[in-house]
Assembly symmetry: C2
DNA sequence: ATGTGCTAACTGAATAGTTAGTCAGCACGT
DNA sequence: ACGTGCTGACTAACTATTCAGTTAGCACAT
């Protein structure tokens, strides 16, 4: 059975139930084998009802992505005070260890497939652009704080955050698309980068 | 019209022609809208003939990937002597600037889509595992040479190459799936990493 | 209370289109 | 005669989407 993230708890709302069904179907079948039928199967009501609430399969999935991103954005405390260095360490931990926080491996898989759609679909590209910008700005802001706190060297926050973003996407993609084990080694090397190029020597 | 890479020159061989047609169709339509029909359209002979040479669509595409990888592996001089530092600089250039060498943007797009299939398809995963290993070992070898040459610090070649691989996949994916411009900044930050964590200070 | 009109949620069955894959047979070099 | 490369027409399965029609609930006049 699919393990739902906390913000997808049971509610009576039909549209929430559709989001839940979409999440479940995506985890179970992946994007490439996702059909309206299968979303319907994961949904207590009828398949046709999906069209009552959304214009098309595409519309539904885009709304789904937007819904997930909203939840995620709402969930991340804009910035909990505390050492910026600790926060960065947490981000690295999440990047190389589990992927994103509570995301199941199955959902990560589907997410990588969904991102790939952005290569030829503007709607998806818009979504991931927004998503990337959110993450990158969050990291940049953290780095800026760290510099002010004196725990980071005087680096360019934008550029550094950009590298974080690339490493983040690369890791996530690599994890689910290749058995070549690159994560442990990549992590060591990246931590060395943080130690020598980001953290202020004490 | 599709611009073919040099190793896909015109030949009489039918199977080469099929590879060419697959490449062209992939560039024109991307993976998600790739059909046997469309490969047939880009092919001077008939669609049914494809089944005479390959068992299934999946078989054909896997053979195509394998074919491309063989060509690429054969093309990269195992190691042209010369400064390992220059060679690494070239790799960085190719990573952030054009993507891989002469690959068209269209093909890169398709390649990202193809990689995403590996999330749920073992055949594709095997391919990209092999592909990743090749690249990573090539980079690791270059780094090892650089250390011996005294131009690189005494880093762990495996770990460093792993980070290169992650950055490579991340950049390629990001480039075609997001309009958030992360490449320039990522490049600057990565070049700083190379300067401070890889190159031997002179 | 009750009947009436109206709307939104909902359903099962149908449809039109597309797809991978098949197959009987043609041309032709040996 | 025979195998090989090759073809066009075909099919069976699956897809997103539609649609005619059922229900349940609500507002409101009687």
């Amino acid at each position: 059975m699919t393990q739902f993230p906390p913000f997808l708890e049971e509610t009576d709302d039909t549209r929430d139930a559709i989001m839940r069904a979409t999440y479940a179907a995506l985890c179970e079948h992946g994007y490439s084998e996702l059909t309206i039928q299968r979303i319907g199967d994961a949904f207590p009501k009828s398949k046709s009802l999906l069209y009552h609430h959304y214009d098309s399969k595409d519309d539904l999935l885009l709304e789904f992505l937007s819904f997930m991103l909203d939840q995620l954005e709402g969930q991340i405390p804009t910035y909990r005070e505390g050492g910026a260095d600790d926060h960065i360490a947490e981000i690295v931990e999440q990047t190389f260890d589990l992927g994103v926080a509570e995301m199941s491996a199955d959902f990560t898989r589907a997410l990588v497939e969904l991102r790939a759609q952005a290569a030829h679909d503007e709607g998806y590209r818009d979504h991931f652009t927004r998503s990337d910008q959110f993450v990158r700005k969050h990291v940049a802001h953290t780095i800026r704080s760290g510099i002010e706190q004196g725990v980071f060297q005087d680096v360019d926050p934008q550029e550094t955050a950009a590298l974080f973003q690339v490493v983040f996407v690369g890791t996530m993609t690599q994890r689910v698309t290749s058995d070549d084990d690159v994560l442990e080694g990549g992590r060591s090397a990246f931590e060395r980068y943080i130690r020598e190029c980001l953290l202020e020597a004490e």
